[in-house]
Symmetry: C2
Subunit: 207 residues, 2 copies
DNA sequence: TCGCTACTTTACGCAGGAGTAGATACGATG
DNA sequence: CATCGTATCTACTCCTGCGTAAAGTAGCGA
C-alpha cells in the first residue's frame, strides 16, 4: 500500500474533476481559506496532480471564475436570443424569461454562484469578476434600451438596479431553505421581481 | 536616530487613528491582502502599536466592521424615525427619505462601505456581515409591511429585492466617477430607485 | 510483453506575514 | 530636577501553506 495509483484518465477529464473539486472547496472556504491540499483531497487526487492539471492556485481560481462566468453568461444569452415572434410585442415576457434563466442558473449551480459573487468579489480577483458582472449589466442595458426606448447609456443605472435587485433576491433565496415550495423557484422568483419592477419600467417608457 | 519615537497620544486617540488606517487599507487590499505592517505604516505607527490598540488582525477587522455597521444602521434608523406628521400620509416620501439616507451614507463613507460589503462578505466574517445586512433588510420589511399592508414576513423577499437594488445602484455610482453632476448624488440615486420600484410597490398595496 | 507516461508518495525549500520580546524615550508628577 | 509608568520602537521568532523535486508504481497502447 506504499503507492496507490489511480486509474489513468484523459487530461481533459482530470482537469474537469479538479475544477469541480476546486469550485466546491472555494465556495465553502473562500480563496484564501481553501488549501491546495484540501482541493486535492476533494478531487481524490494528489497535490502534484492538482498542479499538473489546474496550475497555480491563482490560475485554478481564475479558471473556476472563467468557467462559471461563461456558464452564466451563455445561459442568459441563449435565454434572450430566441426572440422568436417578439417584434417588441411583449417586453414584459422577455424580461421575465431572462430573469427566470438567471434564477434557474443561480439556484442550479449555487456553488458556482457563491464562488463568483461572494468569494471573488473582493481582493485580487475583483477585476475579472467586475468585468463579468459588467458584461451582464451591459446586455441588460441593451435590452432595456431596446424595449423601453432611450440609449443603453441612459439605461445603465437602471440595469445596475435591476441586476442588483435580482442578486439580492437570489441571495435571499439561497440563504434559507425553501423546500416547501412545489413551484419552480426560478418561476417564483422571476414573478416576484417582475411584479416589483415592471410597473416602474413601464412608466419609464412614457417619460 | 536609532529609535524614532512618536509623540505620545491618548490611547483612545491612537485607537481611532489605527481604526481609520485599518479601514483604508482593508478597503483597498481586502482582509487577507492587507498586512499589519501596511496598516501600521498607513497609521504612521509601528506594528506593535497596532497590536496594542487594535488587537489581533481579526479583532481589528471585526472592530472596523462593527463601527461601519453601526454607523450605517444608526444613519438609517434616524432617517426613518422622525415620522413627524406622516400618519401614513406619503409612503413614497418616506421610502425616498430612507433611500437618500442610505445613499448619502454610502457615498460619504465609501471606504467603510467597501470593507463592509465587498471585502467582508466572504470568508470567516460572512456571519457578522450577514447579520448586519439582515438587520437592515428586516427594518425595510417592517416599513414595507406597515406602508403597503401585509406581514413583515411576506414583505421579506420584497425587502431583499429593494436592498439589493439599492446596493447595485450604489456600486454602479461608486465604480465610475460622476463628478460632473451638480446635484447631490444621494438625491439623484434615490430618485432613480424610487422611479423604478415605486409603481410596483404601489401596485402591491392593492393586491 | 515492453515501454511510455500519468499518477502516486514523501519530503523539502522557501516566502510572506502574524505576533512577540526587549530596549528606548516621552512626559506627567512629586 | 529626578523618577517612574507606559507608549512606542526595532528586530526578531515561528508558523502556515504554496509550490516543487525525486523516486517509485502501474495502467494502457503497441
Amino acid at each position: 500500500m506504499t503507492t496507490g495509483t489511480r486509474r489513468r484518465l484523459a487530461p481533459e477529464v482530470r482537469r474537469r474533476q479538479v475544477l469541480d473539486a476546486a469550485i466546491e472547496v472555494f465556495s465553502e472556504e473562500g480563496l484564501h481559506g481553501a488549501s491546495m491540499d484540501a482541493i486535492a483531497a476533494r478531487a481524490g487526487v494528489s497535490k502534484p496532480s492538482v498542479y499538473a492539471h489546474g496550475g497555480t492556485k491563482d490560475e485554478l481560481f481564475a479558471a473556476c471564475l472563467a468557467r462559471e462566468a461563461d456558464r452564466l453568461m451563455s445561459t442568459l444569452t441563449t435565454a434572450v436570443l430566441p426572440d422568436a415572434g417578439s417584434g417588441g410585442a411583449d417586453a414584459r415576457a422577455r424580461l421575465r424569461r431572462a430573469l427566470r434563466a438567471f434564477f434557474r442558473a443561480v439556484t442550479t449551480h449555487r456553488q458556482g454562484w457563491t464562488v463568483l459573487y461572494r468569494q471573488a468579489s473582493a481582493g485580487e480577483f475583483a477585476g475579472p469578476v467586475d468585468a463579468a458582472r459588467r458584461g451582464i449589466v451591459a446586455r441588460a442595458a441593451e435590452l432595456l434600451a431596446a424595449e423601453l426606448g432611450g440609449s443603453p447609456e441612459t439605461a445603465l443605472p437602471v440595469a445596475h438596479t435591476l441586476v442588483g435587485a435580482a442578486e439580492g433576491l437570489a441571495d435571499w433565496w439561497l440563504g434559507a431553505d425553501h423546500r416547501s415550495e412545489d413551484q419552480d423557484p426560478a418561476d417564483l422568483l422571476a414573478d416576484m421581481l417582475v411584479a416589483v419592477v415592471w410597473p416602474g419600467l413601464d412608466a419609464l417608457r412614457q417619460a
